[in-house]
Symmetry: D3
Subunit: 248 residues, 6 copies
């Protein structure tokens, strides 16, 4: 079972964190292929970065599918490009936000997502709404730059701890969802410290991808995710045949 995990930002060290988290929970028969996008922003903080990460992300998913991956994971908590990827690919595609929220919903009635920057907060709130969790989930920002998560001296983890404590106190959070792929290595430690479930979206998505493969399910090609029609694409993305994306 081969699962592609795409880090849609271009920072390879974050891919390492993501890959380790993915492999830590993957089944014995699962091979995790972790790749870094080669086009786009160094980190994804807000709507603009999200949009510019999408073409590079789509290329990696298209390449991964051609290379034999049976499912793909978008390892950014904004679920950047998820709908476009589902329309393009034949294999199932999972976002780490949707996977984390869904897993949280099995173990808690109310929970809080702790994300990084304030400019990511509203986009994540939009996802919480989209995924039908608005009545039970709140979103907080810990005021952490995404790449600061890579730097132990940044104080990022302390800020995260403070926000988790406030979520428990003020939001009646029964569980915590870590709202950034770069936090994937912290889930177990924080779960022990705070004595409540702490969910990492990367791990959650790996298990959902394995589930879809085992269940023989992939994205429906009726309706919203029908394969793109053959047409000309100008500029960096000049040619297209369904299922393939290529820069000329």
């Amino acid at each position: 079972m081969q699962i592609l995990v795409v880090n849609p930002n271009t920072t390879a060290s974050m891919t390492d964190t993501i890959a380790a988290a993915a492999r830590g929970v993957a089944g014995a028969l699962t091979e995790v292929i972790a790749v870094t996008s080669s086009m786009g922003p160094a980190s994804i903080e807000g709507y603009y970065d999200e949009a510019l990460a999408v073409p590079g992300l789509l290329m990696e998913i298209a390449a991964g599918e051609r290379a034999g991956a049976q499912a793909a994971i978008i390892a950014c908590f904004d679920d950047t490009g998820l709908d476009a990827a589902r329309a393009m690919a034949s294999i199932p595609v999972i976002g780490i936000c949707e996977a984390a929220l869904s897993v949280a919903s099995y173990i808690a009635q109310r929970f809080t997502v702790v994300t990084t920057t304030e400019r990511s907060r509203v986009p994540v709130e939009g996802l919480v709404q989209r995924y039908g969790m608005a009545g039970r989930a709140r979103v907080r920002a810990a005021d952490i730059a995404v790449l600061a998560l890579e730097d132990p001296a940044s104080g990022a983890v302390e800020k995260l701890r403070g926000e988790i404590a406030r979520a428990i106190e003020e939001d009646r959070a029964e569980a915590i969802v870590l709202g950034c792929a770069g936090m994937a290595d912290l889930a177990h430690q924080l779960q022990e410290e705070f004595d409540l479930p702490v969910i990492d979206g990367v791990g959650a998505a790996v298990k959902q991808a394995e589930a879809l493969i085992a269940l023989g399910l992939s994205t429906s090609k009726r309706g919203a995710y029908a394969s793109p029609l053959a047409k000309s694409y100008r500029g960096v993305l000049k040619s297209f045949s369904p299922g393939t994306i290529a820069a000329e």
Copy 2:
């Protein structure tokens, strides 16, 4: 990895169907323990049957947890007794409706649940609402008695086919969710026939249970699912210590 699957109705032949579906998708290291409730209705059709199935269901989950199960599945599409079981147990508990809807949401924007009787339709619509899918999922009843699914001569499968066809035509369904544990053996065949994803909740729940175990997550004991307080229980359910349910 040991997963308990409880059929909360008292019809053992349906448990066989459920067990086969569960084992068909379970991982190589997963042992599926399928049990039939010994107390309650022969089939669950509507609110009254749901309520009377719960004590027997809770006993099986309590017994299963004592015997070493690491997760439990309630194999009735009404997710009967789910909240009570989560409060009682230390291990995670998954309902097949919630698992099926969540899996459907990864592969389709719009989908239709086809359940059995009209009296089950409103309860399932209530679950669709609760799980945040009201904007994207519809519920239909195929006018099938639950136990008719056990009888090839009943015409039940033909009625199910007719309702799936209407869902595709009238609901713009991109995927179908089978709305009864007794349909678990039909998913693959119907998926091929109708050429769109068909999701069985039993299989979906097995993969979600495996996911929670692998992720080291269980029901939060803060808030809604805090363990029951020690107190006296009269009648059939006379004594209680947290985590245990016993008939005297």
Copy 3:
């Protein structure tokens, strides 16, 4: 006019409080029959207790209907077993939460329910959502054990007063709903003290039951509340004919 009021927990002293509140507002021609369930938990605090209270509750309602009651009230603020009872009975069945919320909605745009324990809070929030009041009602827990309401020395009423004060200040509450049948005797006193409407669900439900009887209305037997089908029920609840529930 005979109205059955079932206390679904097994504590008879609480039934006395409930009966007094019911009789205090009942019409001159109304006979209130108050009964204590003989099976289930001593108090209902959370989902687990709710579920275990249902069989005993259904037996009392079935018995009451056979004995001539024209309407039944479930005197627990979680509206435990309400849907099952409606499907089973021919007479109308009213929950005290739904009655209280409905009465509150006639006299206030915004109001707050003050319930007992934190583990009851999310279930009551679920009811607020179900009854369409999520935009205007908030739920608070006063951190009171249900049976402490029976004990003047417990400080329970003081905690309740504190929470009402906070609801007025922080929630912009225009009225207060008492979120436990065991608080039924406190409504008038608190209404005077805080100079805003305070609603007790038991009294509210009595008037709704009288209303349905006077209007010649009972539960619809089309759709969700259709009478249970004849089928075998194993264990404590072995036989069933529609409208009857019997332990063998």
Copy 4:
């Protein structure tokens, strides 16, 4: 117990229908005072008529309160002027739409309101939304002029029957709410004919008014329904002291 029922249109024959329905369900100790507004449209069909009916309606409620009424009912299904009346009066005020929907919610999970003209349909849908019933209630218009209900030869009742039949078939209606005060005399007959609960808002409101009086509850004067501030009112409504409305 004195209950004021105001017909906010100026057609006295409709007041007779309303008064009969009100008295038919009122308690033995209840005196129903039915009045016809002396200012405004002959029937209320749409937003414009609603608005012009309000001053006359408010005058009747103010006069009724001064004369000793303990509760007031607005006998138009659009709940015309309800919020203004609640702010003005000290006694509780009930709308027949809100009362009917609330009563329907006790006996059916899904129900359909059948109102008169298409131009009343959207306003009633707005009320269904406001009262939190949008997920369970539909609204239909039978294409009947309000005053045609007074005329046996108009065919109005036949149209109503047709729409009820369609509601049962197409909406899965478990109960019917009659969406016009002028239909108040038809509820019992239609209930028998169609063998499902049929709810008249006038009767429902009388029982709700009796309930509020018996429970010692009136409109909260905190927040939205605080009494109007003393200020000058020009034109037809020149002077005002809280609780009083007077034409000069």
Copy 5:
């Protein structure tokens, strides 16, 4: 292009403030006709005042349309009488609340309305809900009497400043909507002071009215806003032909 702006309260000095704001943003070819209602309350604070302002408002709009206005604006933030005016008039009618919220939605994801008195807060929250902004807009009251806005010595503007500061801090407001026509002159100054967009509904509505005229659009006469039917209106509003309202 002639746009009628009706101040539905009877205080002419407030009309001056409104007219100045309207003219300050109107296009070069737009003539703003600002009128004060001659019937109704001196200021609109809560539901009762709203209702009593409507007949006078409708008369001004009817007169304005007869005099050649191509669009009408209701310059009260409660959008008093908006639906009735739309049904009555042939020209488009805009409320300043709906215009302000719509303009805010183009420039901010989250925003806060700051209105005057607590008794106006719930009505404005109702409008926020109606206009589909409940997920992104909050409403605050600055505890200002409407007419105090006319008096520089009243401290009203200081209270408004305090509430804006709290909205930014506590609501994560990205923009502020001024929730009273009497604040129309303050938008620019507050926008500079607080360095975030501050929206005045009067100006917003003028631009929406110009837009509808330029686009050749007016209120649909199908469905909810169909012209009133010819019928008799008693009392102050005795005769009516569609499009005309006349006091006898």
Copy 6:
């Protein structure tokens, strides 16, 4: 007043249609600058095309702002890239879907969007939900390829007519919104034919852009639309300073 209108697909003839519609409603002092994206798909049909259109769109908006445009319009009914553009630009940015829905809401209670292909329908339904119109707007697809709108022989306009007729009949549509920029030239003709308001999003957006400029309002830079942080962007989009986007 200079307004940039970007056609985010790469088909110049569609830009001509859009430009004509924009200029047809623009004010006398407004200069409309219409540009065609030089990078991306020939037409936007579904999520994949949407995503690939965004980089080219952002470049045009960045270039337009540098060249002096005071507002920008994204002339694709999917409001492709709207959030990213708002975060990037200092000038306000308007989507034609949001503008059309907002204009429709001023003149109709219920309306229907008629878009092109089935694969665009769910994305547009998502926008209807996002903009708070889910309770009043429906979306239909006329089964038209976007570029067929350029070809009089394609039968596209006939299909559109058929769908409008069905919307009036089946949806109770009081107004129609044309759900594709390529339909901009058809609004007036269809409005006459069907005798109800027909709204073109391009025209609607031009008036909204003029409104924001006249009101002195632009996108808030607090919260969700804060300017992108300085960071490295690899590949086609290599360098970035806030407010600027450049291909290297």
